[in-house]
C-alpha cells in the first residue's frame, strides 16, 4: 500500500476527513479522479507521473463539499490552488487536509497552512519549463505573426468551456459568459467571439493563475489557452513581484495597487 493510501485510510478511519480526493486507475488503466469516502477503499489511491489533473477544482463543487471535511492529494499546483481558494474565501482551511506530494513523488507532511506556505515558498513558482519555452518562442514572433497564430487557434474553439470547468479558480456560480444583458460573449462560435472569451478568461485569471496548465490539457481541440494565463502570471511577477497562491492572505494583483506601479505606455 502506498503512503498516500495509508495516510488516506488513517484520515478516514479517524474521521479527520469524510472524503479524500485523489487519483485512481480507471478500468482501462487511465488515471481518473477518485473520491474516497470509505476507508476500506483507500487502497485504490495511486500517485504516478500520469496524475496531473488539478484536483483543487473539486474543492468548490457542492457535490464534494457537502460530504464534509476533505482530504486532498496535492501536488504543487494543487497546493497553490488551495492557497488561492483560501485567500479568496472559497474554502476554509479547517475543512481541508492536504496530502502534499513533493516534486519527487514522496508524501509530504503538511500539518497546516503555514507548513504548506513554507513548502510553496521553497518551490519553483515559475511556469513549467516546456510552457515557458513555448511562451518565449511566441514572444519572439512579430506582432502580426502572433496575431495570425492566435487567430488560427481561436478559430478552432467550439465554446465548450472545458477550460473554464477544469480551472480551480473558475468557481463562479455564474460566469460572465452566462450574462445575456448585455451579452458580453456571443453564444455562437466565431473567431472574434472566441477570442473575446479567451481574453476575458485570461484577464479574470490575471494574477490568479497558478500555472497548472489544466485548461490547456482540458481543451478538446488543443488550443494552448493555458499560455495566455501563464503569460500573465509571468507579467504579474514582472510588474508586481507577485506569485499567485503562496499564502492564505496574499494581496491580489488586480484588487490592490502600489502608487508607484511602473508602466511606460500611458501618456
Amino acid at each position: 500500500m502506498s503512503n498516500i493510501a495509508a495516510k488516506a485510510k488513517e484520515l478516514l478511519e479517524s474521521k479527520a476527513v469524510q472524503v479524500v480526493i485523489g487519483y485512481e486507475a480507471g478500468p482501462t488503466g487511465v488515471v481518473r479522479p477518485a473520491f474516497i469516502t470509505d476507508a476500506a477503499k483507500a487502497d485504490s489511491l495511486i500517485y504516478n507521473e500520469n496524475c496531473v489533473q488539478n484536483l483543487a477544482m473539486y474543492l468548490t463543487k457542492h457535490e464534494v463539499k457537502h460530504i464534509g471535511k476533505m482530504g486532498i492529494v496535492a501536488t504543487l499546483p494543487v497546493m497553490r490552488s488551495i492557497m488561492m481558494l483560501i485567500s479568496e474565501q472559497q474554502v476554509v482551511p479547517e475543512n481541508i487536509v492536504v496530502l502534499g506530494i513533493a516534486e519527487d513523488g514522496k508524501l509530504l507532511d503538511i500539518a497546516d497552512m503555514n507548513v504548506m506556505h513554507s513548502h510553496i515558498e521553497k518551490s519553483n513558482l515559475g511556469n513549467p519549463t516546456k510552457d515557458q519555452e513555448k511562451l518565449a518562442e511566441l514572444n519572439k514572433l512579430s506582432i502580426e505573426e502572433r496575431f495570425k497564430f492566435w487567430e488560427q487557434e481561436m478559430s478552432k474553439c467550439i465554446k465548450c468551456y472545458a477550460c473554464r470547468q477544469s480551472c480551480p479558480m473558475c468557481y463562479c456560480i455564474r460566469c460572465s459568459t452566462d450574462c445575456n444583458q448585455p451579452q458580453w460573449i456571443p453564444v455562437q462560435s466565431n473567431t472574434q467571439g472566441n477570442m473575446d472569451w479567451h481574453i476575458l478568461r485570461a484577464m479574470h485569471l490575471a494574477g490568479r493563475c497558478i500555472s497548472c496548465g489544466e485548461c490547456g490539457r482540458a481543451c478538446p481541440v488543443n488550443i494552448p489557452c493555458h499560455l495566455l494565463t501563464m503569460q500573465l502570471s509571468d507579467q504579474a511577477y514582472n510588474y508586481f513581484k507577485v506569485h499567485a497562491g503562496t499564502s492564505v492572505d496574499m494581496k491580489s494583483v488586480m484588487s490592490t495597487f502600489e502608487p508607484n506601479d511602473k508602466e511606460s505606455f500611458i501618456i
Binding site: 511566441l138 514572444n139 506582432i143 502580426e144 505573426e145 502572433r146 496575431f147 495570425k148 497564430f149 492566435w150 487567430e151 488560427q152 481561436m154 478559430s155 478552432k156 474553439c157 467550439i158 460572465s176 458580453w184 462560435s189 466565431n190 473567431t191 472574434q192 467571439g193 472566441n194 477570442m195 473575446d196 481574453i199 476575458l200 485570461a202 484577464m203 490575471a206 494574477g207 481541440v221 495566455l228 503569460q231 500573465l232 507579467q235 504579474a236 510588474y239 508586481f240 494583483v253 488586480m254 484588487s255 490592490t256 495597487f257 502608487p259 506601479d261 508602466e263 505606455f265 500611458i266 501618456i267
Partner: protein, 150 residues
C-alpha cells in the same frame, strides 16, 4: 485609403478628462471629429471588455483617459485602472492585437489643449494604421472555414 476616416471611441472619466474635454470646448480648441466620447464616473469603471466590443463594433482606435495619478476624484480608481491596463496591454501584445490603436492617457480638467493633442495624435496614428479589418473580419470566421489572412 485616402478617404478613410477612422472611428475612435474615447472612454473617459467624468472628473478629469471629461471636464478637460469640456475645457477644450470652452477654449474653442479644434480637434478631429473622429473621436466620440463615452462618459464614465472613473477610469476604474472601464471594463476591458468594452474595448474589445468597440473593436468588434467597428472602432479603429480607442482612447482611454482619466485623472493623473494621485488626482483621482475617488482617490484610487485610476491606480486600479492602471494595473488593469498593464495586464490588458501585456495580454493584447501577446495575442498580437496592435496596441498602437489604443491610447492611454492622463488628462486633467485643466488640460484642454492637451486633450485636443491626445485626440489629434491618436486619430493621425490610427489613420496611418488604416481600418482595423483584421479584427473585425474575425466575426465571419470559425472552424468550418479556413482562416485566410487578408
Amino acid at each position: 485609403m485616402s478617404d478613410f476616416e477612422p472611428k475612435v471611441v474615447a472612454f473617459v472619466c467624468n472628473w478629469c478628462t471629461y471636464a478637460g474635454a469640456d475645457l477644450t470646448g470652452t477654449s474653442r480648441i479644434k480637434y478631429a471629429t473622429n473621436v466620440k466620447i463615452i462618459r464614465f464616473p472613473c477610469t476604474g469603471r472601464i471594463d476591458f471588455m468594452l474595448l474589445l466590443k468597440s473593436f468588434a463594433n467597428g472602432a479603429d482606435g480607442i482612447i482611454i483617459s482619466g485623472c493623473h495619478p494621485n488626482d483621482c476624484h475617488y482617490t484610487s480608481g485610476n491606480f486600479h485602472a492602471k494595473r488593469r491596463w498593464i495586464m490588458f496591454k501585456e495580454l493584447m501584445d501577446f495575442m498580437g492585437i496592435d496596441m498602437k490603436r489604443i491610447t492611454y492617457s492622463w488628462v486633467s480638467a485643466a488640460e484642454g489643449a492637451r486633450w485636443a493633442e491626445v485626440v489629434n495624435t491618436t486619430v493621425a496614428r490610427v489613420r496611418e494604421l488604416g481600418p482595423y479589418v483584421s479584427y473585425q473580419k474575425m466575426v465571419n470566421t470559425h472552424i468550418e472555414e479556413e482562416v485566410t489572412n487578408e
